[in-house]
Subunit: 200 residues, 2 copies
Amino acid sequence: MVAPILFYFDFSSPYGYLAAQRVDAMAEVHDRTVDWRPILLGPAMSESGNRPLLDQPMKGDYARRDMERMARLWGVPFTLPEPFPVATLAAARGFYWLSQTDRGRAVPFAKAVYLAYFAEGRDISRTEVVVEVAAGLGIAPDAFLAAVQEPTIKARLKAEVARAMELGVFGSPFLIVDGEPFWGADRLEQASRWLATSGW
Amino acid sequence: MVAPILFYFDFSSPYGYLAAQRVDAMAEVHDRTVDWRPILLGPAMSESGNRPLLDQPMKGDYARRDMERMARLWGVPFTLPEPFPVATLAAARGFYWLSQTDRGRAVPFAKAVYLAYFAEGRDISRTEVVVEVAAGLGIAPDAFLAAVQEPTIKARLKAEVARAMELGVFGSPFLIVDGEPFWGADRLEQASRWLATSGW
């Protein structure tokens, strides 16, 4: 029984969105599953003193170009949304609620949230938008709305963020493959090779 | 007549060192030459508000692991030197002096400086170490020492750093391929593809 690949991501992360298009297929090649774990990067940002990527002079302009270029290369629809970045509490809480109650819908929900934000430009910081995305997958709006206000669900997300930080996760996407950390959509290939060769 | 690939790097940059092992071969595949341009990243760091990579909490630990892992993957000798990072004025000035007076030796000198620092752990912030590296290539120590104190050579390096910043260079390595910027050793492959397909 091999361990799943841990896939940490923030719903507001462009490179997380890109990685989300490929991580399952990459894992499948190696007969692995992927454990999707949305987090909020705000706490890690404060800890590391990093500013949001696009707010950084010079680097911000480059990053915008790089993410659009990589999306074109990978054939993934991408438009940098406005507002950006946003806090994605409802989406992340909704994901963990689904993972506990309706497991098969959690990852499709995550993918739909990412598409809503980065392909359709819908503001996923607004709970009602996330409810609509969930409804598109047949998830009842009332149940979803109640769930994202549940203290146990709120606590679950907090615990996931805390655990991620303990594991050294400071960015998105962030894969952990048999204990080995890989940060960035551009490390998917190395992660795949790591799986193929059991490290190097 | 196609333009050379602009290759900006800091002699104190581990990923610059890694890219330096591959950039010429990558260009050759596409019948291009590489215009090596050492710079000092200090000014760009202040401008962008970034701290040196390894000083950043969480990210620093990851970066150390990532650079060692990539060096192993690429089969390149690498030991993170002590002290690190360092200011590499003499090496960068020496490079531009050679590029003006003994052009064929400039790139071999750059490669030798990188090896001295990242493979042999020699402190290339010390002018006498850089003089020794140059001497290993048959460059006269007295001439080298005089050159790196020359006002015109000092001015050349300053101008190169200023031009790099105008071009949006904020990190190392940084390639500019037909006007298109690629930052990081991990973008060499995309740069190569850009050359193959004239963009995408």
